[in-house]
């Protein structure tokens, strides 16, 4: 054995995948890339890090990986693609304002404590649809996400749709700043929600709705259930928007794998309109998600409506043990055959067949 084994290990949370598993994951990514191309998307290759300034005031600062270069510039490894893509596309839009469809793949970095099985390095494939305003684009993004899941072999995945504006409107000015209330809603914990609503002094009507939000998950019946509560006009508008989106999907025959979750609060600050997450019964954590973020470009001084989504490729691969990927049985060719063997390899490859050149030359 050459040297101690600990010299060969990587820090916890890093991602190392090798062999058929890695090949299969690349296959999944390729299939999603094909879907993206089919919808007219082009690839965008983005920087792995940017000025720390870009990621300021976004929350989750303690999870970022920061570094200082030799000249003292403070940099941050990308923790998310959307922001860095938006920045890149903002430059492009300044040159030529138009609709842009961009898809990407790569790693993101976010600190995760060890012991939970969470990764610091995660590989994502996703896309941004920029200057896409209106419900048709919302529905199109969901239909496309669904096609990506099919192509990856995750036909049983469930798309859970909520609305960033709805939860904001329900919480109102008072509730919006209450981090603990967000947490209680995020954990769908009705007794804690009720306790906090009282402590904060939220009115009875709103408190009743907040307490019921954890159970407002399901089919289109949740819209009716939500209307049983007294809603602020903005909440009502967001609900109508979401219901319209559901109807659009339903009429297009694409609502069968969609669930509504009016109690979804995670990243609700980020999404101005519909938002969604993808789950699969074989994997405990979400496979991906996305939504509409019309205020994203505000920070670059531009008013640009956009939708987008991304998938976590490792989790997607976990959910899709059968997805049409097959290595195929390769024809063995002995390296000792020299020119004759190489000729045989060329013939096989010309027919697109897999080869396995091996042995001593």
């Amino acid at each position: 054995m050459p040297g101690p084994a600990d010299k060969l290990s990587f820090p916890p949370g890093t991602e190392l995948v090798f062999g058929p598993q890695a090949t299969r994951r690349q296959f999944i990514s390729d299939r999603i890339a094909e879907v993206s191309r089919g919808w007219g998307f082009t690839e965008i290759i983005l920087p792995a890090f940017d000025s720390a300034e870009t990621f300021r005031d976004l929350g989750g600062e303690t999870e970022l990986y920061n570094l200082v270069d030799r000249e003292g510039h403070r940099l941050t490894l990308r923790a998310d693609f959307t922001l860095i893509a938006a920045k890149a596309l903002a430059m492009e839009l300044r040159r030529d304002a138009r609709q842009i469809r961009a898809s990407y793949e790569g790693r993101v970095y976010r600190f995760a404590p060890s012991g939970h099985g969470h990764r610091v390095e995660q590989t994502q494939r996703g896309l941004e649809w920029v200057n896409a305003r209106g419900a048709t684009y919302d529905a199109a993004a969901l239909v496309m996400a669904r096609e990506c899941l099919d192509a990856a072999g995750a036909e049983n995945a469930i798309i859970v749709v909520g609305h960033g504006g709805f939860i904001h409107a329900v919480l109102g000015e008072k509730g919006r700043v209450e981090r603990r209330l967000h947490e209680a809603l995020d954990h769908k914990n009705p007794s804690r929600i009720a306790q906090l609503a009282q402590r904060i002094g939220i009115d009875d009507d709103t408190a009743a709705l907040l307490g019921s939000l954890p159970l407002l998950t399901g089919g289109p019946e949740v819209f009716k259930a939500a209307r049983g509560f007294k809603l602020r006009p903005e909440a009502d508008a967001a609900l109508a928007e979401l219901e319209g989106l559901y109807q659009l999907l339903d009429e297009a025959g694409a609502a069968d794998r969609v669930l509504i979750d009016l109690g979804e609060v995670r990243r609700s600050d980020y999404y101005s309109g519909f938002m969604f997450k993808v789950y699969h019964e074989a994997v405990g954590e979400e496979l991906g998600g996305g939504g509409r973020y019309d205020r994203l470009f505000d920070r670059f001084g531009m008013d640009v409506p956009a939708v987008g989504f991304g998938f976590n490729l490792a989790r997607l691969a976990e959910a899709t043990s059968r997805n049409g990927y097959a290595g195929g049985t390769a024809s063995a060719v002995a390296a000792s055959e020299g020119a004759k063997g190489l000729k045989r390899v060329l013939e096989l490859r010309a027919q697109g067949k897999p080869v396995d050149l091996k042995g001593e030359a």
Partner: protein
Amino acid sequence: MLRMALPTGRMLKQATPFLEAAGYAPAEPLSDTRKLTVPSKCGRVEYLLVKPVDAPLYVEQGVAEVGVCGKDVLMEVGADLLEPLDLGFARCRMVVAGRPEIERKLDNLLSPVRVASKFPRVAQHYFFKKGTPCTVFKLSGSVEIGAVLGLSHYIVDIVETGATLRENGLVVHEEIAECSARLAVNRAAWYAKLAEVRELLNNLKQAVEGGKP
């Protein structure tokens, strides 16, 4: 069928009559078995018997779709899961305790207080939020000794009646949280097994509202 992570030990004794009342009686006595999984008589649930502190992880990772977890353990582990029902049993309080004459007040101090606990994350987080610097010692049992013999100024621990504290001459200085057994649900299962999880939730809710089983 849903798999339910059940903590072994003290909580199991309280959970069993509760689950029976809710219509999910185990097919064989859970406290006697050496098996790791036991189905319910009705066949809707399979119990997975695990150490209390491990239960949240099994649920978070989706190995078990649901679980019974103490709030104290949920706070310490910090797992990312749903917590839709307070099951009401195994009630206790998570507190900061210490000797009554302790001079170190819990106000903003400039030198760290020493805290011993089986719940180091909870302790660290609590003092951090107060802006009080602290050094946390993780102990595995008999935490009271930490404060009695001066390893630490304070302990962070759960108390039911407070008898153990009193016997050791300690008092509660601050309360961190009220704890009880909770139904924990895996995020993916909440959606992917919506109907099954809802049925379980409703039955357990009825058992909670029906009073002490």
